[in-house]
Protein backbone atom coordinates (compact mmCIF):
# COMPACT_ATOMS: atom_id res chain seq x y z
CA UNK A 1 0.00 0.00 0.00
CA UNK A 2 1.42 3.42 -0.97
CA UNK A 3 -0.14 6.84 -0.50
CA UNK A 4 -3.60 7.86 0.62
CA UNK A 5 -5.56 10.80 -0.79
CA UNK A 6 -8.46 12.25 1.17
CA UNK A 7 -11.20 14.40 -0.38
CA UNK A 8 -12.91 16.12 2.52
CA UNK A 9 -15.63 17.23 2.22
CA UNK A 10 -17.07 16.08 -1.08
CA UNK A 11 -18.49 19.28 -2.58
CA UNK A 12 -21.77 20.23 -4.25
CA UNK A 13 -23.72 17.54 -2.45
CA UNK A 14 -26.19 17.80 0.42
CA UNK A 15 -24.38 17.05 3.66
CA UNK A 16 -20.86 16.04 4.51
CA UNK A 17 -18.78 13.15 3.25
CA UNK A 18 -15.16 12.17 2.77
CA UNK A 19 -13.40 10.05 0.19
CA UNK A 20 -10.18 8.13 0.88
CA UNK A 21 -8.17 6.97 -2.11
CA UNK A 22 -5.40 4.46 -1.40
CA UNK A 23 -2.58 4.29 -3.93
CA UNK A 24 -0.02 1.57 -4.56
CA UNK A 25 3.70 2.11 -4.94
CA UNK A 26 3.25 3.07 -8.59
CA UNK A 27 0.65 5.73 -7.75
CA UNK A 28 -2.20 3.64 -9.12
CA UNK A 29 -5.48 3.47 -7.19
CA UNK A 30 -5.87 0.29 -5.19
CA UNK A 31 -9.09 1.02 -3.32
CA UNK A 32 -11.38 3.96 -2.66
CA UNK A 33 -13.76 4.49 0.25
CA UNK A 34 -16.74 6.84 0.46
CA UNK A 35 -17.18 7.68 4.15
CA UNK A 36 -20.16 9.38 5.73
CA UNK A 37 -18.91 10.67 9.06
CA UNK A 38 -22.07 12.31 10.32
CA UNK A 39 -23.95 10.82 13.21
CA UNK A 40 -27.64 9.95 12.88
CA UNK A 41 -29.84 10.70 15.85
CA UNK A 42 -33.45 11.21 14.79
CA UNK A 43 -34.57 7.65 15.41
CA UNK A 44 -33.43 7.97 19.01
CA UNK A 45 -34.65 11.37 20.04
CA UNK A 46 -38.14 10.92 18.60
CA UNK A 47 -38.75 8.21 21.21
CA UNK A 48 -41.44 9.38 23.62
CA UNK A 49 -42.84 12.08 21.31
CA UNK A 50 -46.49 11.90 20.32
CA UNK A 51 -46.77 10.11 16.98
CA UNK A 52 -48.80 12.97 15.46
CA UNK A 53 -45.76 15.22 15.84
CA UNK A 54 -43.63 13.00 13.61
CA UNK A 55 -44.50 14.67 10.27
CA UNK A 56 -43.33 17.99 11.74
CA UNK A 57 -40.25 16.59 13.52
CA UNK A 58 -38.86 14.29 10.84
CA UNK A 59 -39.11 16.88 8.06
CA UNK A 60 -36.43 18.82 9.99
CA UNK A 61 -34.02 16.09 8.88
CA UNK A 62 -33.60 17.98 5.65
CA UNK A 63 -33.92 21.47 4.15
CA UNK A 64 -33.98 20.21 0.57
CA UNK A 65 -36.44 17.34 0.68
CA UNK A 66 -38.44 17.98 3.88
CA UNK A 67 -41.66 17.22 2.01
CA UNK A 68 -40.58 13.61 1.45
CA UNK A 69 -40.09 13.04 5.17
CA UNK A 70 -43.25 15.01 5.94
CA UNK A 71 -45.33 12.81 3.64
CA UNK A 72 -43.70 9.44 4.39
CA UNK A 73 -44.24 10.23 8.06
CA UNK A 74 -47.87 11.25 7.52
CA UNK A 75 -48.45 8.01 5.59
CA UNK A 76 -47.05 6.00 8.51
CA UNK A 77 -49.31 7.97 10.87
CA UNK A 78 -52.37 7.23 8.66
CA UNK A 79 -51.69 3.55 9.30
CA UNK A 80 -51.35 4.14 13.05
CA UNK A 81 -54.85 5.65 13.19
CA UNK A 82 -56.14 3.09 10.71
CA UNK A 83 -57.83 5.40 8.22
CA UNK A 84 -57.87 5.71 4.44
CA UNK A 85 -57.39 9.41 3.75
CA UNK A 86 -59.90 11.24 1.52
CA UNK A 87 -59.03 11.34 -2.18
CA UNK A 88 -58.69 15.17 -2.23
CA UNK A 89 -56.13 14.95 0.58
CA UNK A 90 -54.17 12.36 -1.37
CA UNK A 91 -54.20 14.61 -4.41
CA UNK A 92 -52.95 17.59 -2.39
CA UNK A 93 -50.18 15.56 -0.77
CA UNK A 94 -49.10 14.32 -4.18
CA UNK A 95 -49.21 17.88 -5.50
CA UNK A 96 -46.75 19.20 -2.89
CA UNK A 97 -44.62 16.16 -3.59
CA UNK A 98 -44.51 17.06 -7.28
CA UNK A 99 -43.50 20.60 -6.27
CA UNK A 100 -40.64 19.17 -4.30
CA UNK A 101 -39.50 16.90 -7.14
CA UNK A 102 -39.45 19.92 -9.47
CA UNK A 103 -37.47 22.16 -7.11
CA UNK A 104 -35.03 19.49 -5.93
CA UNK A 105 -34.32 17.91 -9.32
CA UNK A 106 -34.00 21.21 -11.16
CA UNK A 107 -31.69 22.61 -8.52
CA UNK A 108 -29.51 19.55 -8.72
CA UNK A 109 -29.17 19.56 -12.47
CA UNK A 110 -28.42 23.24 -12.85
CA UNK A 111 -26.71 24.12 -9.56
CA UNK A 112 -24.88 20.99 -8.45
CA UNK A 113 -24.25 18.84 -11.54
CA UNK A 114 -24.46 21.58 -14.19
CA UNK A 115 -21.05 23.14 -13.55
CA UNK A 116 -19.29 19.83 -14.32
CA UNK A 117 -21.33 19.08 -17.40
CA UNK A 118 -21.66 22.55 -18.88
CA UNK A 119 -18.30 24.05 -17.86
CA UNK A 120 -16.21 20.88 -17.93
CA UNK A 121 -14.67 18.51 -15.39
CA UNK A 122 -11.31 20.22 -15.70
CA UNK A 123 -12.55 23.81 -15.64
CA UNK A 124 -10.93 26.12 -13.09
CA UNK A 125 -12.63 25.34 -9.73
CA UNK A 126 -12.89 29.10 -9.18
CA UNK A 127 -15.43 29.31 -12.00
CA UNK A 128 -16.76 25.73 -11.99
CA UNK A 129 -19.76 26.68 -9.87
CA UNK A 130 -23.09 28.49 -10.08
CA UNK A 131 -21.45 31.88 -10.68
CA UNK A 132 -19.50 30.42 -13.58
CA UNK A 133 -22.71 28.96 -14.94
CA UNK A 134 -24.51 32.30 -14.60
CA UNK A 135 -21.70 34.07 -16.41
CA UNK A 136 -21.48 31.43 -19.14
CA UNK A 137 -25.19 31.08 -19.77
CA UNK A 138 -27.39 33.61 -17.93
CA UNK A 139 -30.51 32.60 -19.86
CA UNK A 140 -30.30 29.00 -18.65
CA UNK A 141 -29.48 30.18 -15.14
CA UNK A 142 -32.57 32.42 -15.07
CA UNK A 143 -34.77 29.53 -16.18
CA UNK A 144 -33.20 27.28 -13.53
CA UNK A 145 -34.01 29.86 -10.86
CA UNK A 146 -37.59 30.03 -12.12
CA UNK A 147 -38.00 26.26 -12.10
CA UNK A 148 -36.75 26.01 -8.55
CA UNK A 149 -39.10 28.85 -7.64
CA UNK A 150 -42.07 27.17 -9.34
CA UNK A 151 -41.48 23.99 -7.35
CA UNK A 152 -41.14 25.86 -4.10
CA UNK A 153 -44.19 27.99 -4.94
CA UNK A 154 -46.32 24.85 -5.41
CA UNK A 155 -45.31 23.80 -1.92
CA UNK A 156 -45.96 27.25 -0.49
CA UNK A 157 -49.36 27.73 -2.17
CA UNK A 158 -50.56 24.25 -1.23
CA UNK A 159 -48.93 23.61 2.12
CA UNK A 160 -48.54 27.11 3.52
CA UNK A 161 -44.78 27.53 3.41
CA UNK A 162 -41.84 26.40 1.33
CA UNK A 163 -39.81 24.56 3.93
CA UNK A 164 -41.05 22.57 6.90
CA UNK A 165 -44.81 23.06 6.50
CA UNK A 166 -47.36 21.71 8.98
CA UNK A 167 -49.66 20.54 6.21
CA UNK A 168 -49.90 16.74 6.20
CA UNK A 169 -51.40 15.33 9.38
CA UNK A 170 -52.54 11.84 10.35
CA UNK A 171 -55.70 11.25 8.33
CA UNK A 172 -55.13 13.79 5.55
CA UNK A 173 -54.10 17.43 5.31
CA UNK A 174 -55.10 20.45 7.37
CA UNK A 175 -56.05 22.91 4.61
CA UNK A 176 -57.87 22.81 1.30
CA UNK A 177 -56.93 24.55 -1.95
CA UNK A 178 -58.82 27.47 -3.48
CA UNK A 179 -59.30 28.45 -7.12
CA UNK A 180 -56.94 31.43 -7.07
CA UNK A 181 -53.99 29.38 -5.87
CA UNK A 182 -54.82 26.55 -8.25
CA UNK A 183 -54.92 28.93 -11.21
CA UNK A 184 -51.62 30.55 -10.27
CA UNK A 185 -49.97 27.12 -10.23
CA UNK A 186 -51.46 26.12 -13.57
CA UNK A 187 -50.20 29.34 -15.07
CA UNK A 188 -46.57 29.01 -14.03
CA UNK A 189 -46.47 25.28 -14.78
CA UNK A 190 -47.42 26.10 -18.39
CA UNK A 191 -44.43 28.42 -18.43
CA UNK A 192 -42.12 25.91 -16.71
CA UNK A 193 -42.62 22.83 -18.89
CA UNK A 194 -40.69 24.29 -21.87
CA UNK A 195 -37.83 25.15 -19.52
CA UNK A 196 -37.63 21.52 -18.40
CA UNK A 197 -37.75 20.36 -21.99
CA UNK A 198 -34.89 22.74 -22.75
CA UNK A 199 -32.93 21.14 -19.91
CA UNK A 200 -33.61 17.70 -21.35
CA UNK A 201 -32.35 18.84 -24.75
CA UNK A 202 -29.16 20.13 -23.09
CA UNK A 203 -28.68 16.76 -21.40
CA UNK A 204 -29.32 14.84 -24.61
CA UNK A 205 -26.93 17.03 -26.57
CA UNK A 206 -24.27 16.60 -23.89
CA UNK A 207 -24.74 12.84 -23.92
CA UNK A 208 -24.51 12.64 -27.70
CA UNK A 209 -21.28 14.66 -27.59
CA UNK A 210 -19.81 12.56 -24.77
CA UNK A 211 -21.34 9.17 -25.55
CA UNK A 212 -18.33 7.04 -24.63
CA UNK A 213 -17.80 8.88 -21.37
CA UNK A 214 -21.49 8.62 -20.52
CA UNK A 215 -21.57 4.91 -21.19
CA UNK A 216 -18.40 4.18 -19.25
CA UNK A 217 -18.42 6.66 -16.35
CA UNK A 218 -19.11 4.73 -13.15
CA UNK A 219 -21.01 2.11 -15.13
CA UNK A 220 -21.65 -1.20 -13.39
CA UNK A 221 -24.40 -3.80 -13.01
CA UNK A 222 -26.64 -3.73 -9.93
CA UNK A 223 -30.18 -4.34 -8.81
CA UNK A 224 -32.71 -1.50 -9.06
CA UNK A 225 -35.67 -0.54 -6.90
CA UNK A 226 -38.53 1.94 -7.04
CA UNK A 227 -42.27 2.41 -6.71
CA UNK A 228 -44.52 1.70 -9.69
CA UNK A 229 -48.24 2.05 -10.29
CA UNK A 230 -50.35 -1.07 -10.69
CA UNK A 231 -49.80 -0.92 -14.46
CA UNK A 232 -46.02 -0.80 -13.97
CA UNK A 233 -45.63 2.89 -14.78
CA UNK A 234 -43.51 5.34 -12.79
CA UNK A 235 -44.95 6.32 -9.42
CA UNK A 236 -43.56 8.76 -6.86
CA UNK A 237 -46.19 9.11 -4.13
CA UNK A 238 -47.89 5.77 -3.62
CA UNK A 239 -47.56 2.37 -5.24
CA UNK A 240 -45.94 -1.02 -5.01
CA UNK A 241 -42.21 -1.55 -4.61
CA UNK A 242 -40.63 -3.25 -7.62
CA UNK A 243 -37.20 -4.89 -7.47
CA UNK A 244 -35.26 -5.63 -10.65
CA UNK A 245 -32.07 -7.68 -10.91
CA UNK A 246 -28.96 -6.64 -12.83
CA UNK A 247 -30.17 -8.42 -15.96
CA UNK A 248 -33.36 -6.38 -16.02
CA UNK A 249 -35.62 -9.14 -14.74
CA UNK A 250 -38.36 -8.12 -12.29
CA UNK A 251 -37.76 -10.48 -9.40
CA UNK A 252 -40.18 -9.15 -6.81
CA UNK A 253 -43.06 -6.72 -6.31
CA UNK A 254 -44.21 -6.04 -2.77
CA UNK A 255 -46.16 -3.63 -0.61
CA UNK A 256 -44.05 -1.06 1.19
CA UNK A 257 -45.33 -2.30 4.54
CA UNK A 258 -43.53 -5.61 3.90
CA UNK A 259 -40.13 -4.00 3.37
CA UNK A 260 -38.47 -5.87 6.26
CA UNK A 261 -39.07 -9.16 4.47
CA UNK A 262 -36.98 -7.95 1.55
CA UNK A 263 -34.53 -5.31 2.72
CA UNK A 264 -31.71 -5.86 5.21
CA UNK A 265 -29.04 -3.42 6.36
CA UNK A 266 -25.33 -4.12 6.62
CA UNK A 267 -22.87 -2.07 8.70
CA UNK A 268 -19.25 -1.21 7.87
CA UNK A 269 -16.86 0.19 10.46
CA UNK A 270 -15.68 3.03 8.19
CA UNK A 271 -19.04 4.80 7.65
CA UNK A 272 -22.03 5.85 9.75
CA UNK A 273 -24.26 5.27 6.73
CA UNK A 274 -25.64 1.72 6.61
CA UNK A 275 -25.65 -0.48 3.49
CA UNK A 276 -29.13 -1.79 2.64
CA UNK A 277 -29.35 -4.94 0.53
CA UNK A 278 -32.02 -7.13 -1.04
CA UNK A 279 -32.31 -10.09 1.34
CA UNK A 280 -33.07 -12.71 -1.32
CA UNK A 281 -29.65 -12.07 -2.90
CA UNK A 282 -27.78 -11.70 0.42
CA UNK A 283 -25.51 -8.94 1.73
CA UNK A 284 -22.74 -9.53 -0.83
CA UNK A 285 -24.86 -9.75 -3.99
CA UNK A 286 -28.04 -7.92 -3.00
CA UNK A 287 -26.95 -4.33 -3.59
CA UNK A 288 -29.16 -2.13 -5.68
CA UNK A 289 -29.74 1.44 -6.84
CA UNK A 290 -32.69 3.75 -6.27
CA UNK A 291 -33.55 7.28 -7.37
CA UNK A 292 -34.13 8.57 -10.90
CA UNK A 293 -32.03 5.93 -12.68
CA UNK A 294 -33.39 3.10 -10.54
CA UNK A 295 -36.97 4.27 -11.02
CA UNK A 296 -36.74 4.65 -14.80
CA UNK A 297 -35.02 1.27 -15.03
CA UNK A 298 -37.79 -0.52 -13.10
CA UNK A 299 -40.71 1.36 -14.72
CA UNK A 300 -42.46 0.06 -17.84
CA UNK A 301 -43.73 3.49 -18.86
CA UNK A 302 -44.61 6.98 -17.64
CA UNK A 303 -48.25 7.97 -17.41
CA UNK A 304 -47.90 11.55 -18.72
CA UNK A 305 -47.45 12.12 -22.47
CA UNK A 306 -44.41 14.40 -22.72
CA UNK A 307 -42.41 12.46 -20.14
CA UNK A 308 -43.41 9.16 -21.77
CA UNK A 309 -41.99 10.37 -25.09
CA UNK A 310 -38.68 11.16 -23.37
CA UNK A 311 -38.83 7.88 -21.44
CA UNK A 312 -38.99 5.86 -24.66
CA UNK A 313 -35.96 7.69 -26.02
CA UNK A 314 -34.12 7.13 -22.74
CA UNK A 315 -34.93 3.41 -22.81
CA UNK A 316 -33.82 3.07 -26.41
CA UNK A 317 -30.27 4.08 -25.45
CA UNK A 318 -29.72 0.86 -23.54
CA UNK A 319 -31.63 -1.41 -25.89
CA UNK A 320 -34.18 -2.45 -23.34
CA UNK A 321 -31.57 -3.44 -20.73
CA UNK A 322 -31.15 -1.48 -17.48
CA UNK A 323 -29.12 1.68 -17.97
CA UNK A 324 -25.97 1.09 -15.90
CA UNK A 325 -23.96 4.28 -16.21
CA UNK A 326 -24.16 6.66 -13.27
CA UNK A 327 -24.09 9.75 -15.50
CA UNK A 328 -27.52 8.80 -16.82
CA UNK A 329 -28.92 9.73 -13.42
CA UNK A 330 -28.80 13.35 -14.60
CA UNK A 331 -30.82 12.62 -17.74
CA UNK A 332 -33.33 10.48 -15.78
CA UNK A 333 -33.69 13.26 -13.21
CA UNK A 334 -34.82 15.72 -15.87
CA UNK A 335 -37.35 13.26 -17.33
CA UNK A 336 -38.79 12.85 -13.84
CA UNK A 337 -38.96 16.63 -13.49
CA UNK A 338 -41.05 16.75 -16.64
CA UNK A 339 -43.31 14.02 -15.26
CA UNK A 340 -43.70 15.93 -12.00
CA UNK A 341 -44.75 19.10 -13.81
CA UNK A 342 -47.22 17.24 -16.02
CA UNK A 343 -48.58 15.27 -13.07
CA UNK A 344 -48.99 18.47 -11.04
CA UNK A 345 -51.08 19.89 -13.88
CA UNK A 346 -53.20 16.73 -14.01
CA UNK A 347 -53.86 17.01 -10.28
CA UNK A 348 -54.72 20.70 -10.51
CA UNK A 349 -57.25 19.98 -13.26
CA UNK A 350 -58.92 17.26 -11.19
CA UNK A 351 -62.25 18.59 -9.78
CA UNK A 352 -61.54 16.91 -6.43
CA UNK A 353 -58.51 19.10 -5.83
CA UNK A 354 -60.73 21.95 -4.57
CA UNK A 355 -62.81 19.73 -2.30
CA UNK A 356 -63.06 20.56 1.40
CA UNK A 357 -63.08 16.85 2.27
CA UNK A 358 -59.41 16.68 3.22
CA UNK A 359 -59.25 15.02 6.64
CA UNK A 360 -60.48 11.89 8.39
CA UNK A 361 -59.97 11.97 12.14
CA UNK A 362 -58.81 8.99 14.15
CA UNK A 363 -57.00 7.81 17.25
CA UNK A 364 -54.21 5.22 17.48
CA UNK A 365 -55.49 1.80 16.49
CA UNK A 366 -52.32 0.08 15.37
CA UNK A 367 -48.99 -0.27 17.12
CA UNK A 368 -47.05 -0.09 13.88
CA UNK A 369 -47.22 2.20 10.88
CA UNK A 370 -45.07 2.17 7.76
CA UNK A 371 -45.00 4.94 5.15
CA UNK A 372 -43.14 4.60 1.85
CA UNK A 373 -42.64 7.30 -0.75
CA UNK A 374 -40.26 8.04 -3.61
CA UNK A 375 -38.19 11.00 -2.44
CA UNK A 376 -36.25 12.86 -5.14
CA UNK A 377 -33.21 10.70 -4.36
CA UNK A 378 -35.07 7.39 -4.05
CA UNK A 379 -37.25 5.20 -1.90
CA UNK A 380 -37.86 6.57 1.59
CA UNK A 381 -39.23 4.38 4.39
CA UNK A 382 -40.59 5.57 7.74
CA UNK A 383 -41.49 2.81 10.21
CA UNK A 384 -42.99 3.73 13.58
CA UNK A 385 -43.86 1.73 16.69
CA UNK A 386 -46.40 3.46 18.93
CA UNK A 387 -47.99 2.95 22.32
CA UNK A 388 -51.65 3.05 21.25
CA UNK A 389 -52.86 4.08 24.73
CA UNK A 390 -50.76 7.23 24.98
CA UNK A 391 -49.81 7.78 21.35
CA UNK A 392 -46.14 7.98 22.38
CA UNK A 393 -43.47 6.82 19.96
CA UNK A 394 -41.72 3.70 21.21
CA UNK A 395 -39.29 3.22 18.31
CA UNK A 396 -38.72 4.23 14.72
CA UNK A 397 -36.70 3.04 11.76
CA UNK A 398 -35.91 5.31 8.83
CA UNK A 399 -34.35 3.99 5.64
CA UNK A 400 -33.51 7.02 3.58
CA UNK A 401 -33.03 7.20 -0.19
CA UNK A 402 -29.33 8.01 0.01
CA UNK A 403 -28.78 4.98 2.22
CA UNK A 404 -30.07 2.62 -0.48
CA UNK A 405 -27.46 4.07 -2.84
CA UNK A 406 -24.57 3.83 -0.39
CA UNK A 407 -23.03 0.75 -1.97
CA UNK A 408 -23.50 2.20 -5.46
CA UNK A 409 -21.76 5.45 -4.50
CA UNK A 410 -18.86 3.49 -3.04
CA UNK A 411 -18.64 1.42 -6.22
CA UNK A 412 -18.88 4.54 -8.40
CA UNK A 413 -16.06 6.41 -6.65
CA UNK A 414 -13.86 3.31 -6.75
CA UNK A 415 -14.38 2.85 -10.48
CA UNK A 416 -13.87 6.51 -11.30
CA UNK A 417 -10.80 6.81 -9.08
CA UNK A 418 -9.26 3.77 -10.77
CA UNK A 419 -10.11 5.18 -14.18
CA UNK A 420 -8.98 8.76 -13.71
CA UNK A 421 -6.72 9.30 -10.68
CA UNK A 422 -2.99 9.14 -11.24
CA UNK A 423 -1.25 9.51 -7.89
CA UNK A 424 2.04 10.48 -9.50
CA UNK A 425 0.49 13.30 -11.50
CA UNK A 426 -2.41 14.42 -9.37
CA UNK A 427 -4.67 17.14 -10.82
CA UNK A 428 -7.75 18.75 -9.32
CA UNK A 429 -9.92 17.66 -12.26
CA UNK A 430 -9.19 14.02 -11.44
CA UNK A 431 -10.55 14.43 -7.92
CA UNK A 432 -13.50 16.42 -9.26
CA UNK A 433 -14.47 13.41 -11.38
CA UNK A 434 -14.44 11.28 -8.22
CA UNK A 435 -16.75 13.81 -6.57
CA UNK A 436 -18.79 13.91 -9.77
CA UNK A 437 -19.43 10.17 -9.48
CA UNK A 438 -21.05 10.81 -6.11
CA UNK A 439 -22.97 13.84 -7.42
CA UNK A 440 -24.70 11.59 -9.99
CA UNK A 441 -26.62 10.13 -7.05
CA UNK A 442 -27.44 13.57 -5.60
CA UNK A 443 -26.88 12.17 -2.13
CA UNK A 444 -28.47 13.90 0.81
CA UNK A 445 -26.23 12.92 3.69
CA UNK A 446 -28.06 15.21 6.06
CA UNK A 447 -31.08 13.01 5.39
CA UNK A 448 -29.27 9.75 5.66
CA UNK A 449 -27.51 10.56 8.91
CA UNK A 450 -29.30 13.72 10.11
CA UNK A 451 -26.30 15.59 11.50
CA UNK A 452 -25.13 19.19 11.55
CA UNK A 453 -21.68 20.63 11.12
CA UNK A 454 -19.29 22.54 8.88
CA UNK A 455 -16.10 21.51 7.16
CA UNK A 456 -13.50 22.87 4.79
CA UNK A 457 -12.21 20.82 1.85
CA UNK A 458 -8.96 19.09 2.76
CA UNK A 459 -6.88 16.87 0.50
CA UNK A 460 -4.18 14.95 2.34
CA UNK A 461 -1.55 12.76 0.73
CA UNK A 462 0.30 10.22 2.89
CA UNK A 463 3.45 8.30 2.01
CA UNK A 464 3.95 4.57 2.49
CA UNK A 465 4.94 5.04 6.14
CA UNK A 466 1.73 6.91 6.80
CA UNK A 467 3.52 10.26 7.07
CA UNK A 468 1.62 13.27 5.78
CA UNK A 469 3.42 14.54 2.70
CA UNK A 470 1.06 17.13 1.29
CA UNK A 471 -2.02 18.93 2.58
CA UNK A 472 -4.21 21.26 0.54
CA UNK A 473 -7.06 23.11 2.25
CA UNK A 474 -10.01 24.94 0.66
CA UNK A 475 -12.03 26.93 3.27
Amino acid sequence: MGEKITINPVTRIEGHARVSIFLDDQGKVEKTYFHVDQYRGYEKFTEGRHFSEMPMITERICGICPISHHLASAKACDVIIGVEIPRPAKLLRELVHMGQIIQSHSMHFFELAGPDLLLGWDADPAVRNVVGLIQANPDIALKAVKLRKFGQRIIELTAGRRIHPTFAVPGGVNSALDEARRDEMLSFLEEGIPYIQEGIEIAKKWISQHKDECDQFASFPSGYMGLVKKDGSLELYDGIVRFMDKEGKIVREFEGRDYLKYIGEKVEDWSYLKFPFFKEFGPEEGFYRVGPLGRLNVADSISTPLAQKEFLEFKSLSGGKPQESSLYYHYARLIETLYAAERAMEILKDPDVLSLDVLHFGTPQNEEGIGVIEAPRGTLIHHYFVDTASGAMKKSNLIVATGHNNWAMCKAVDLVAKGFVDGKNLKEGMLNRVEGAIRCYDPCLSCSTHAVGKMPLIVEIYNQEGKLEKRIQRD
Binding site: P9, T11, R12, I13, E14, G15, H16, F45, G63, I64, Q103, M107, E111, L112, N129, V130, V131, I134, Q135, P138, A141, L142, A144, V145, K146, R148, K149, G151, Q152, R153, R161, R162, I163, H164, S446, K454, L457, R474
Partner: protein, 119 residues
Protein backbone atom coordinates in the same frame (compact mmCIF):
# COMPACT_ATOMS: atom_id res chain seq x y z
CA UNK B 1 -40.42 36.30 4.89
CA UNK B 2 -39.61 33.43 7.25
CA UNK B 3 -37.11 30.92 5.87
CA UNK B 4 -34.86 28.16 7.10
CA UNK B 5 -32.22 28.84 4.48
CA UNK B 6 -31.38 31.04 1.51
CA UNK B 7 -31.78 29.46 -1.90
CA UNK B 8 -31.71 30.44 -5.54
CA UNK B 9 -35.48 30.60 -5.96
CA UNK B 10 -35.60 33.68 -3.72
CA UNK B 11 -33.56 35.76 -6.14
CA UNK B 12 -36.57 36.81 -8.19
CA UNK B 13 -38.32 38.15 -5.12
CA UNK B 14 -35.27 39.98 -3.85
CA UNK B 15 -34.85 41.54 -7.28
CA UNK B 16 -38.04 43.50 -6.59
CA UNK B 17 -36.70 44.98 -3.32
CA UNK B 18 -34.88 48.25 -2.70
CA UNK B 19 -33.67 47.19 0.71
CA UNK B 20 -33.29 43.80 2.38
CA UNK B 21 -32.54 42.91 5.98
CA UNK B 22 -31.33 39.38 6.63
CA UNK B 23 -32.00 38.30 10.21
CA UNK B 24 -30.27 35.16 11.44
CA UNK B 25 -28.99 33.40 14.52
CA UNK B 26 -25.26 33.65 15.21
CA UNK B 27 -23.09 31.02 16.88
CA UNK B 28 -20.72 33.58 18.38
CA UNK B 29 -20.04 37.31 18.67
CA UNK B 30 -21.98 40.13 20.26
CA UNK B 31 -25.50 39.69 21.61
CA UNK B 32 -26.92 41.65 18.69
CA UNK B 33 -24.97 42.85 15.67
CA UNK B 34 -26.08 44.78 12.62
CA UNK B 35 -23.95 45.67 9.61
CA UNK B 36 -24.45 46.71 6.04
CA UNK B 37 -23.43 43.96 3.61
CA UNK B 38 -22.49 44.04 -0.05
CA UNK B 39 -22.33 41.54 -2.92
CA UNK B 40 -19.32 39.28 -2.59
CA UNK B 41 -18.40 36.04 -4.32
CA UNK B 42 -17.96 33.66 -1.39
CA UNK B 43 -18.94 30.28 -2.88
CA UNK B 44 -20.18 27.62 -0.52
CA UNK B 45 -19.48 23.99 -1.27
CA UNK B 46 -22.78 22.92 0.23
CA UNK B 47 -26.14 23.96 -1.11
CA UNK B 48 -27.47 24.02 2.46
CA UNK B 49 -25.17 26.88 3.30
CA UNK B 50 -25.41 30.17 1.44
CA UNK B 51 -24.05 33.46 2.76
CA UNK B 52 -26.19 36.60 2.24
CA UNK B 53 -23.22 38.29 0.54
CA UNK B 54 -23.08 35.45 -1.99
CA UNK B 55 -26.82 35.69 -2.45
CA UNK B 56 -26.46 39.42 -3.25
CA UNK B 57 -23.62 38.59 -5.64
CA UNK B 58 -25.85 36.18 -7.58
CA UNK B 59 -28.59 38.79 -7.63
CA UNK B 60 -26.27 41.34 -9.17
CA UNK B 61 -24.89 38.86 -11.70
CA UNK B 62 -28.23 37.46 -12.77
CA UNK B 63 -30.74 40.28 -12.31
CA UNK B 64 -28.39 43.29 -12.31
CA UNK B 65 -29.93 44.51 -9.09
CA UNK B 66 -28.09 45.75 -6.01
CA UNK B 67 -30.49 46.57 -3.18
CA UNK B 68 -29.16 48.00 0.09
CA UNK B 69 -28.76 45.10 2.46
CA UNK B 70 -28.11 44.59 6.14
CA UNK B 71 -27.33 41.55 8.24
CA UNK B 72 -28.84 41.47 11.71
CA UNK B 73 -27.21 38.71 13.75
CA UNK B 74 -28.76 37.54 16.99
CA UNK B 75 -26.52 35.48 19.22
CA UNK B 76 -27.85 32.04 20.14
CA UNK B 77 -26.61 30.32 23.26
CA UNK B 78 -27.96 26.80 23.17
CA UNK B 79 -28.13 24.82 19.93
CA UNK B 80 -28.76 21.48 21.57
CA UNK B 81 -32.00 19.57 21.06
CA UNK B 82 -34.93 21.18 22.84
CA UNK B 83 -37.94 23.39 22.46
CA UNK B 84 -38.17 27.17 22.59
CA UNK B 85 -35.48 29.82 22.96
CA UNK B 86 -33.07 30.10 25.88
CA UNK B 87 -33.69 33.19 28.09
CA UNK B 88 -30.48 34.75 26.72
CA UNK B 89 -31.55 34.19 23.10
CA UNK B 90 -35.00 35.56 23.86
CA UNK B 91 -33.38 38.71 25.24
CA UNK B 92 -31.24 38.97 22.06
CA UNK B 93 -34.35 38.58 19.92
CA UNK B 94 -36.20 41.34 21.78
CA UNK B 95 -33.27 43.73 21.34
CA UNK B 96 -33.00 42.67 17.70
CA UNK B 97 -36.63 43.52 17.02
CA UNK B 98 -36.10 47.06 18.36
CA UNK B 99 -32.97 47.48 16.24
CA UNK B 100 -34.83 46.16 13.20
CA UNK B 101 -37.68 48.62 13.75
CA UNK B 102 -35.21 51.51 14.02
CA UNK B 103 -33.33 50.31 10.95
CA UNK B 104 -36.49 50.16 8.84
CA UNK B 105 -37.50 53.62 10.08
CA UNK B 106 -34.07 55.03 9.27
CA UNK B 107 -34.06 53.55 5.76
CA UNK B 108 -37.57 54.86 5.11
CA UNK B 109 -36.60 58.35 6.30
CA UNK B 110 -33.52 58.34 4.07
CA UNK B 111 -35.60 57.26 1.09
CA UNK B 112 -38.17 59.99 1.75
CA UNK B 113 -35.34 62.47 2.09
CA UNK B 114 -33.91 61.36 -1.26
CA UNK B 115 -37.31 61.56 -2.96
CA UNK B 116 -38.01 65.10 -1.67
CA UNK B 117 -37.55 67.77 -4.41
CA UNK B 118 -34.26 69.61 -3.98
CA UNK B 119 -34.40 73.44 -3.86
Amino acid sequence: MFLQELSLDLLEELALCDCAVFVDAALEGEEVQVREIFPENKPSFLSHHLLPEQFLFWLEELYHRRPRAFLLSLRGYNFDFGQGLSPEALASAEKGIKILENLIKEVQEREEENERPQN
